[in-house]
């Protein structure tokens, strides 16, 4: 009897959560899709975003994302390789780097915004620009990217390293031709996690890449990211809710699309480079 009540409570809890999710998703789809159209994606915002579209916003968002990934991926991969291949598991230096990254991963995004503003915008003189925003995001996504890639690299069997060493391969080519391809799915999922976090980010960008909604002409222009656009439309622009919902729908579709793309890309990379199992 009590077992049945318990099961009921568990199913009820799951039901409540599913209902909340469907409510949220339904609102997004219903209110967003009605305002969404081809011209919304292809025209620049007008009248503070009430009318017009989000073309310039999309370009800025993708540029910020590109800067963030271009900075984070090389630095992150090199760090992950160093952590797995060149430190002992109980080494102090490696442990210090890992601890520092774990703490960094927990720093609130608004604090990254403060830091990015003080360091990139003011101290380095980059101002409110796409570069400032992208580099701030790079700092933000670095920990999760490194830790995921590191997990992928250390999951590669040591047999592969021994075999490669026995064949007289240089460490560089072992890395490039064996270890990194084998860890590619983990690296890709690290990138996906990072992209998801970066695309969704608002608080870290308001004071680094800024508010300007014009089409950026260079990386040193200020550019408004999609998430910042949604915030501005819903808080500061009366009558901007419909455009905000449409932008929110685009943002979510963008995140899902980038994730799917990264997954497909990593599958192809894996198939091309590692043909033994």
């Amino acid at each position: 009897m009590t077992d049945r009540i318990f099961t009921g409570v568990v199913w009820l809890g799951a039901g409540v959560m599913t209902a909340l999710f469907l409510w949220l998703l339904g609102d997004l789809l219903w209110q967003g899709a009605s305002h969404l159209s081809g011209s919304f994606l292809l025209s620049d915002p007008a009248d503070s975003g009430r009318s017009g579209g989000i073309a310039s916003i999309l370009v800025s968002t993708l540029l910020i994302l590109a800067v963030a990934l271009l900075a984070a991926i090389p630095l992150g991969l090199m760090s992950a390789v160093w952590l797995t291949e060149y430190t002992r598991r109980d080494g102090t230096l490696g442990a210090a780097v890992r601890l520092s990254l774990d703490v960094l991963a927990g720093v609130p995004s608004i604090v990254f915004g403060l830091f990015g503003n003080a360091f990139f915008s003011v101290y380095l003189g980059l101002g409110f620009s796409i570069v400032s925003g992208g580099l701030t995001l790079a700092c933000m996504i670095l920990p999760i990217f490194i830790r995921t890639s590191e997990a992928g690299l250390s999951a590669v069997s040591d047999d592969w390293r021994r075999n490669a060493a026995a064949l007289g391969m240089s460490r560089a080519s072992v890395l490039w031709h064996v270890l990194l391809p084998a860890a590619a799915p983990a690296v890709a999922s690290g990138i996906m996690l990072g992209v998801g976090r970066a695309t969704a980010e608002t608080a870290a960008l308001i004071f680094t890449s800024g508010y300007v909604d014009r089409m950026p002409t260079s990386l040193f222009d200020s550019g408004r990211a999609l998430a910042v656009h949604i915030y501005d439309l819903s808080m500061n622009v009366t009558g901007g809710d419909r455009a905000a919902y449409a932008s929110a729908l685009v943002l979510i579709v963008l995140i899902v699309a980038i994730n799917t793309g990264a997954l497909a890309l990593s599958d192809r990379w894996l198939a091309r480079k590692v043909t033994f199992s």
Partner: protein, 292 residues
Amino acid sequence: MIWSRPSFLSRWPTDRWLAPGLGVAAAGAGLILLLVLVFLLREAAPLLGSHAAIGFLLDAGWYPLEGQFGMLPMVVASLAAALGALLLAAPLGIVSAIFLNFSAPPGVAHLYRMIVALLAGIPSVVFGLWGLTVLVPLIARWQPPGASLLAAILILALMILPTVALTSASALAAVPKSLLHGAAALGLTQQGTILRVALPAARGGIINGVLLAGARALGETMAVLMVAGNVVQYPGGLLDPVRVLTANIALEMAYASGAHRAGLFASGLLLTLAVMLLAWLAIRASHGGRHD
């Protein structure tokens, strides 16, 4: 590590600079945290040295233009919002985890896991938008003005639910099967097995997840900023509009200068320390509560 021979003995020239190069990159990545803290301190320094540092606690309120930097109302609001969200999200998240691991048929569990993962991927600004346009008007119909501590708690709870659910689910999945089989052999009901065996065994992982979710709630900016009303005051009840620390930074950074700007950086520093403390407790919980 199997590459015990030092890199400089390698007969390949690229290997000789590979190790130091990678080491420099890793050191750079590790130093970012230090850089963040140094710049927070540097910008907050004009206030930290002076009498105003005590003023963070003692000043009557947050009137930065008059040199009053009393952060306590916003600290209380931040804590209240995060704690309220945890009180809602923790039970529902743990129930979700039990559902995933014990109650749901495989197909349903797969679907449910997808829903939770999708919910986890929704940007906070979208939660804020939804809260502002759906939840706040709903609360306002009952008790105006609607934008309130309650709205912040509800939106935060929805946001951190996936974190609690997913971490608790993986903690429950890691409970050794032999424990569950033993419980079944002793004739425990499913309820008994879950409540008396599985949950206590997964205690460390669950507490770890709840604390991490709490840290996320404390550090969240946009969603709270958009629904909480942003009046600097001690929350007298659930329906009072409040302003949390993170929202204060986002609202005032645009025009802050001088001591005001320093005050905002000081509040950022305080926030970082609070979140670091929670993360430290989470790590301790996951080590201390392990069941053997």
